[in-house]
Symmetry: C2
Subunit: 145 residues, 2 copies
């Protein structure tokens, strides 16, 4: 592939990534309509669900947020009884965030809803295309990190 063609491909990928990310954001927001959680709250719940209890620092790092932002986020999520702060016994500085029943219920429902949506989106993809797409995304994710 000559240089010019390569650059053109990359430019197009950049553009499509912007569009797809925007759509993921938008569709994701719409899917939260009937639940009492916001997009960042969804992401926090998803992390807690996948990785178990985490400290404020760990969650901040996963979500690429400042500590202060996470503190506020967890304040609100605690108020709506989605999660609970638990002080670490060994190191009293550390606060561990624990997923509560209601949070678990909601995140499971929303994740399922997203997968149903995606199954619909992918209805015109062949089995082979699905596998390729999956592998592409995994590699892209790895390289972007």
């Amino acid at each position: 592939m000559d240089e010019v063609t390569h650059v053109a491909h990359v430019a197009r990928i950049e553009k499509e990534l912007r569009y797809v990310s925007g759509l993921v954001k938008q569709k994701g927001r719409e899917m939260l309509n009937n639940y009492k959680i916001t997009p960042p709250q969804f992401i926090a719940l998803q992390w807690l669900s996948e990785e178990g209890d985490m400290t404020i620092g760990e969650l901040s790092s996963k979500m690429y947020l400042a500590f202060s932002t996470t503190t506020d986020l967890i304040d609100r999520m605690e108020k709506s009884e989605l999660v609970q702060r638990v002080k670490d016994e060994k190191d009293r500085r550390v606060v561990r965030i624990h997923l509560l029943e209601e949070g678990k219920r909601i995140i499971d429902e929303v994740i399922k809803k997203r997968q149903v949506y995606l199954q619909d989106v992918l209805v015109n993809f062949s089995s082979k295309e699905i596998v390729t797409l999956k592998e592409n995304l995994i590699k892209l994710h790895q390289e972007m990190r």
Copy 2:
């Protein structure tokens, strides 16, 4: 492909899409560090740059935002002289948003920066993989719309 495998693939794609979108958001935010624009401002500038002058309504629709949100956004962008409101001569209700020099300069720079970043990310992709990724994303974008 049997049903179970298919569902597993879709679930993985959903997950990777979340990760990639998150990274696009985060890396995008970092790349704006040296510029005096915010992420939504970047998206607005990108639309105006690609599609030319647009009304508040059109931009709201493209960005999936309420009118009131866009009004505020454009207020701030006008204050920092990135864009300018122009009243439509024919229909005095309509406000057309016009990209100014400074806005054009910044958006071009940032888009270029993103492409350079992506070229770096894709350095371990073969020519064939690049093409496949591009086609995958285009199709995914189409089907998500």
